[in-house]
């Protein structure tokens, strides 16, 4: 063992959006007040991006890891539940589908329900696939319960994530982190001081204060102050596959009770989201500035959004892609500073958690051994690329022919990794699965089916199961799911009983 170890003594996080405070919370919990000192610098003048309010199920592992009570958290962040995403108008105008969380809730011995369904369909069965996903049925009926509270029922096969208020989550995690010894400093970083070997030594604030540390986490959002400006790490530009480069965001009142899903509604030149919280919704329009001006985008959004605006809309320019290296020397980039893929599958917050999870696994000493950095970058790049492919798929498989934007999506050259995945699926519905993949078969099957990409055949081995009575069995199973869901509370009622948030004063700053 090397006797000259130099453990990190001080870690400085620049930025106090979701990324900054998730980093602070996870490190302060992991270090138990014993290892490095943690300081977070943020600037109220610059502010945070203020979107990023829809999540995926694995994000909730973060709360468990932090020892945070989920119910308590949901009260504080205006939280509501999310069972999946409703995609409108993606395949064709007027055509909807759901990407549900969880599994298909029908036991078919040793086989994939999807394959059984494919064979049944080849023989004339016409029941829809999503009738077997409890989460989809719950979305359609606006019902909710926590799946683990319904063991041995079809509902147990659903999984859920949450919608949260971004500012309230940052505030919640700030309190959590400060209670565990994290120092918060208000100020604008003006200069970054580097050593001759390129490591960052310290940052100088506008008022002249200087903060030195052994390690820096760049959570400065799209500014990418350290990883981009100082370290000069390049950016993989993915806009040839994902041409949207701007969003307009807004918050509106809820004219109807919040549904347990995120809406992703395709528009002529992009798509609109609606993320329902307990007492308001976040809405926005992701678009491409070559086709739409900011004013047109806002008008389009206002026409779509049900509910009254409660804040002024704001414009967010972005570039889809990621850093060539998320971690360089003693600077780790997290959140928007590291990369961005449009929020169609709500993966960014989870990637922040994942980025910290791997960082803690590869926690370096002050010398930042290159082997740790190389493996970190390799693993995280894999995740980014998987999400990129999954998101591109929603565009590339469209059948819309109503304008140039969608025609270009249809004819784009996909990344090789996605192309081979879809080709394999088209053969007989086989989905490549690996231990470290984020999206499981059900996700690919649901989205591809939803987009009208059907395999040419079912898996040959399905022919070995006796099939008489199978259509009747499938119908019974779908009925059982529907009945079980009908007995559940409405989503809004469940929220009221489970985690009512205090009524917010929207005018008050948080």
């Amino acid at each position: 063992m090397d006797q000259s170890r130099r453990p990190l003594k001080k870690i400085c996080i620049i930025g106090g959006g979701s990324a900054g405070w998730i980093a602070a919370a996870l490190m302060s919990e992991h270090f138990k007040g014993k290892l490095a000192e943690i300081e977070l610098v943020e600037s109220d003048d610059i502010g945070i991006v203020g979107v990023g309010e829809s999540t995926i199920p694995p994000f909730l592992q973060m709360l468990t890891r932090l020892g945070i009570n989920e119910q308590d958290f949901l009260k504080e962040v205006q939280g509501s539940f999310k069972l999946g995403i409703l995609f409108k108008d993606w395949k064709l105008k007027g055509d909807d589908y759901i990407h549900p969380f969880g599994r298909f809730g029908v036991p078919v011995e040793m086989d994939d329900l999807y394959q059984v369904w494919l064979r049944a369909r080849a023989q004339g069965y016409d029941g829809p696939l999503q009738a077997f996903a409890a989460a989809s049925v719950m979305i359609e009926q606006d019902r909710f319960t926590l799946p683990f509270k319904a063991p041995r029922t079809p509902v147990a096969s659903a999984a859920y994530a949450v919608h949260i208020d971004a500012r309230r989550m940052a505030r919640y995690l700030r309190r959590f982190s400060e209670a565990r010894g994290v120092t918060r400093t208000e100020g604008i970083v003006d200069q970054v001081v580097t050593r001759p070997d390129g490591f960052v030594e310290g940052v100088v604030l506008k008022d002249g204060r200087r903060i030195d540390a052994d390690f820096f986490i760049d959570c400065t959002g799209f500014r990418a102050l350290l990883i981009g400006k100082t370290m000069g790490v390049g950016y993989h530009d993915w806009s040839s596959w994902l041409p949207c480069n701007r969003a307009v965001a807004l918050q509106v009142t809820n004219p109807t009770p919040p549904g347990p899903y995120t809406l992703a509604h395709a528009q002529d030149h992009g798509w609109c989201w609606r993320i329902p919280l307990q007492q308001r919704s976040g809405v926005g329009y992701v678009f491409c500035d070559r086709h739409v001006s900011d004013d047109e985008a806002l008008a389009n959004l206002l026409a779509q959004a049900e509910g009254e605006p409660i804040v002024d809309p704001w414009i967010i320019p972005f570039k889809t892609g990621m850093r060539e290296r998320l971690w360089e020397k003693n600077v780790l980039s997290l959140g928007l500073a590291g990369g961005f893929i449009e929020p169609l599958e709500s993966t960014a917050l989870h990637l922040i958690y994942r980025g910290m999870d791997f960082f803690l696994r590869f926690l370096p000493d002050a010398d930042c051994d290159p082997a740790l950095i190389a493996e970190y970058n390799r693993r995280m790049t894999q995740d980014y690329e998987e999400i990129r492919d999954f998101v591109i798929m929603h565009y590339a498989t469209t059948q819309r022919d109503d304008n140039d934007f969608w025609r270009q999506c249809r004819t784009m050259e996909m990344p090789e990794s996605l192309k081979s995945k879809i080709e394999l699926f088209q053969v007989n519905g086989t989905v490549r699965e690996g231990v470290d993949l984020m999206f499981r078969s059900v996700s690919w099957q649901s989205v591809l089916e939803g987009m009208g990409v059907h395999p040419r055949a079912y898996h040959p081995l399905i022919d070995r199961i006796p099939f008489e009575g199978m259509p009747a069995y499938l119908d019974q199973a779908a009925t059982a799911i529907r009945r079980a869901v009908e007995g559940l509370p409405r989503h809004a009622d469940f929220l009221k009983d489970h985690c009512t948030a205090p009524s917010p004063d929207w005018a008050a700053p948080v």
Binding site: M1, R361, A371, A374, E423, L424, V435, P460
Partner: protein
């Protein structure tokens, strides 16, 4: 063997007595000959000899000594230019020596092998030449190779039969129909290649980490350049005792740890987060683990007792 003129698919094989066997799918299990995939379809062999210099083995069976209970592990002993195995069965033992024919003559091998058998010899030693490596594609057209016909890695970690099992499972998952979609074949080939490369790296590790000074063979092994995929793993291990994990790995971190530790290759550094525990807590944690294991092991039957219980139909 007859191929279809239009696409080179195998239509049928002909036996020496003239009978013809047709098929849609041919699974080549013809051993090292790789009769269909290699010989008939001409799929190239990827040679891994530059990392794995052993190219032959002598195998010999031995009689168990009366009263000896078979040990519940395979014994592998390094020799001057290779290594010797001892695999104890209940009625006899398998023995053999895997070696590099460039470094040792057959006589030298036998002189190293025969004095160290697990018992008196039962058979004449049999010489088995081999080539480490794999067919560039395990599946070509309508022919899938499974077993030695797909490739070979020396039996240092007894992986061949496991690779047969994963090959069969993969064939089941990617089972074709008569259209033989290229996407299915590509996927099968990609997964098989990656999986076998991972096993290859694991075996190379045993050679790379050696510190023997008694022969040029071992010195060369130590100094060889290993595949990048393996070098990355060694670097991360040395830096911090962490494991690089690729897809389709057969061996989990615990196995890699056992080899590194067995060779005395320890990391330069450890996870700094461990410093959040006091040395006393750490010691207690480790002691508890050790005590637990010792207690559990003490309460289990020994191997001979267990086998006897199995025979009586009483094993748990």
């Amino acid at each position: 063997m007859e191929q279809r003129p239009e696409d080179g698919f195998i239509r049928a094989v002909t036996l020496d007595d003239g009978r013809e066997v047709e098929g849609d799918l041919f699974v080549d299990c013809s051993g090292f000959r790789s009769l269909l995939l290699g010989e008939a379809l001409g799929v190239r062999f990827e040679d891994w000899g530059r990392w794995l210099p052993c190219d032959a083995a002598f195998a010999v069976q031995s009689r168990n000594r009366p009263g000896d209970a078979p040990a519940p592990f395979t014994r592998v002993t390094a020799r001057s230019a290779g290594w010797q195995w001892g695999i104890p069965l209940r009625h006899r033992a398998g023995n053999g020596l895997v070696f590099s024919s460039a470094h040792l003559s057959d006589d030298q091998v036998l002189a190293e092998l025969m004095p160290h058998l697990l018992g008196d010899p039962l058979t004449e030693p049999r010489r088995i030449p081999f080539r480490p490596g794999r067919r560039a594609q395990a599946w070509s057209r309508n022919c899938v190779a499974i077993g030695l016909s797909a490739g070979f890695l020396e039996p240092l970690e007894s992986t061949s039969i496991a690779l047969i099992e994963t090959g069969v499972a993969r064939l089941k998952q990617l089972f074709p129909d008569r259209r033989f979609a290229p996407a299915v074949i590509d996927e099968y080939n990609d997964q098989s290649a990656r999986e076998m490369e991972r096993v290859r790296d694991f075996i190379i590790l045993h050679y790379k980490l050696n510190r023997r000074t008694d022969s040029a063979f071992w010195r060369d092994c130590r100094e060889m350049t290993v595949p990048d995929t393996l070098q990355r793993k060694i670097d991360l291990w040395t830096a911090r005792g962490e494991f690089v994990r690729y897809r389709w790995e057969m061996f989990h971190p615990a196995s890699w740890l056992a080899i590194y530790d067995g060779f005395g290759v320890h990391p330069d550094d450890y996870d700094p987060a461990v410093d959040a525990m006091t040395p006393a807590d750490l010691e207690r944690g480790l002691r508890d683990m050790r005590d637990n294991i010792a207690r559990l092991v003490a309460s289990t039957p020994d191997h001979a007792q267990y086998l006897a219980a199995l025979d009586r139909g009483q094993a748990a």
